[in-house]
């Protein structure tokens, strides 16, 4: 691995991460991820693309500490926050790592507003200021007027917006996103990508965004990693300096886009 963990700019670093699930009949299970390593700078928007079944969700689960790594380490600001064989996990590492999962995972018995407020309530910060913050964020992702609806009363796109807002509300410095717009129609997806870009531009979060959509990966990211099929590891680390602020529909007609797209596509095998 090239980037040492004390490199000044790396906020998050993954080193030699490996994972294999126990085989049902014992014996040696195949590696899902092996020798995975990369660093993310403070405020960087990193996108990760790879074929489906390449362990991208497993990678995020390990960084979020909802799953144990079999090998390797994870560092945050130079501090080792996870290593293989750690006796217990600390999901979200003291609210430093937010995680927008593939499914919205809203609590069905709480209203949209109460879901967004939940992380604040956990630390007693759901006071007047907290509520106002939650309402502002809901408005920013287009949920104004839907505060009192239960999740089952919202559309898939709205639930996605709510799940985005409830992670943004407590301001974790690192946010992991697992194909958050994967199940949405093209129109909703474009609007949500745009909203995410706007929020990110104003807050400068460090984001690790997993997708299987190459266009989305290039349009959103400062840098795109391509991971291989299992055992997954990084096969391409492609920076891109397309001008910001970006809109997906402008990005695809930019002259620098086609060669970037081609390079990423060629690396996905």
């Amino acid at each position: 691995m090239t980037a040492p963990h004390h490199a000044p700019m790396a906020l998050l670093e993954v080193r030699d991460l490996g994972k294999r699930f126990d085989a049902a009949g014992g014996g040696d299970a195949p590696w899902v991820i092996r020798g995975m390593g990369f660093a993310v700078a403070d405020g960087e928007f990193l996108t990760v693309v790879g074929p489906s079944g390449s362990g991208k969700t497993t990678l995020l689960n390990m960084i979020a500490q909802t799953d144990h790594p079999t090998e390797g380490e994870v560092f945050l600001r130079g501090e080792r926050i996870l290593h293989a064989g750690a006796p217990r996990l600390n999901p979200g590492w003291n609210r430093q790592i937010g995680y927008v999962t593939q499914e919205d995972n809203l609590l069905p018995w709480r209203s949209a507003l109460d879901n967004v407020l939940y992380a604040l309530r956990l630390v007693g910060a759901d006071d007047a200021a907290g509520r106002e913050r939650a309402r502002d964020l809901m408005a920013a992702v287009g949920l104004a007027g839907f505060e009192d609806y239960y999740p089952h009363q919202l559309s898939g796109g709205m639930r996605k917006r709510a799940s985005l807002a409830r992670t943004l509300v407590y301001d974790p410095p690192v946010i992991l996103m697992d194909e958050p717009f994967g199940a949405l129609d093209a129109e909703t997806k474009a609007i949500l990508q745009h909203d995410l870009m706007t929020v990110w531009a104003s807050k400068r979060k460090t984001i690790v965004f997993v997708t299987h959509d190459i266009t989305e990966a290039i349009a959103l990211g400062d840098r795109t990693l391509v991971v291989s099929r299992a055992p997954a590891r990084v096969t391409l680390d492609q920076a891109n300096d397309l001008p910001r602020p970006r809109r997906a529909e402008d990005v695809i007609v930019h002259p620098a886009f086609p060669p970037l797209y081609e390079r990423v596509r060629a690396a996905i095998r």
């Binding site: 500490q65 979200g92 999962t101 995972n105 609590l107 018995w109 089952h152």
Partner: protein, 259 residues
Amino acid sequence: MTGPAGRAFDRLLVAALLLAGWQGASAAWGEYWASGPLPAAAAFWRLVASGSLPTNALYTLEATAWGFAIGLPPGILLPFLLRRHPRIRAVLDPFMVAAYGVPKLALAPLFIVWFGIGIGSKVALVASVTFFIVYFNAMAGVAAVDRRLIATVRVMGAGEWRVLTDVVWPASVPFVFAGIRTATPYAVGGTVVTELISSNRGLGHLIQLSANRFQTNEVFAALFGVLILVIGCNLAVQAVERRLLRWRPPVFAASGAAG
């Protein structure tokens, strides 16, 4: 016919047919053996007016309520306590299943020996009936909690207690209520049967007393009392359930009410 109005009509039709059948039986075998809708209704009003039916119903209700109050809390809480202790749960499981399998009504004579012919034996029987039914339902609920929801709140910093109160409990409430709904008629039934065997009060006692005197009309009147008690308990449970489960999509709520 369709819709709620049509359904109400169909139900009235079925009720009318049942009453007609009863009337027919009364005519065929004689009112002395089979009673009949009209004499039974007359006996019902007589027992209500004399205060005998309300007093005995209240006693049965009281015994049932105490049984619930004692059997319910451990039935609900134990699965939550055992959630993080799969080993203890695995050790206890065969014993629980065996105890659940014993027909509780067969325990009634034993409870009467232990707790006397007063309210104690009824309470003990109802408690043992509700405990096991609710325990197994709550256990199923705790096991069915969506692990992704737990992982999500943990990432946001929720500790074990918050996971329990904010995810596992609300996710299990529908299962707990399914258990309570199943247990309610068994609980009332348990009280009545224990009263039948030995008691000097309660609807079961009234049934037994009337049957011993060959007062068939009064037997049916007391049975109506039991019916009303069960329906009342069910309505109360449903009202609480509806309040607690407002968050559920209507399709679940509908199937829940029907189940």
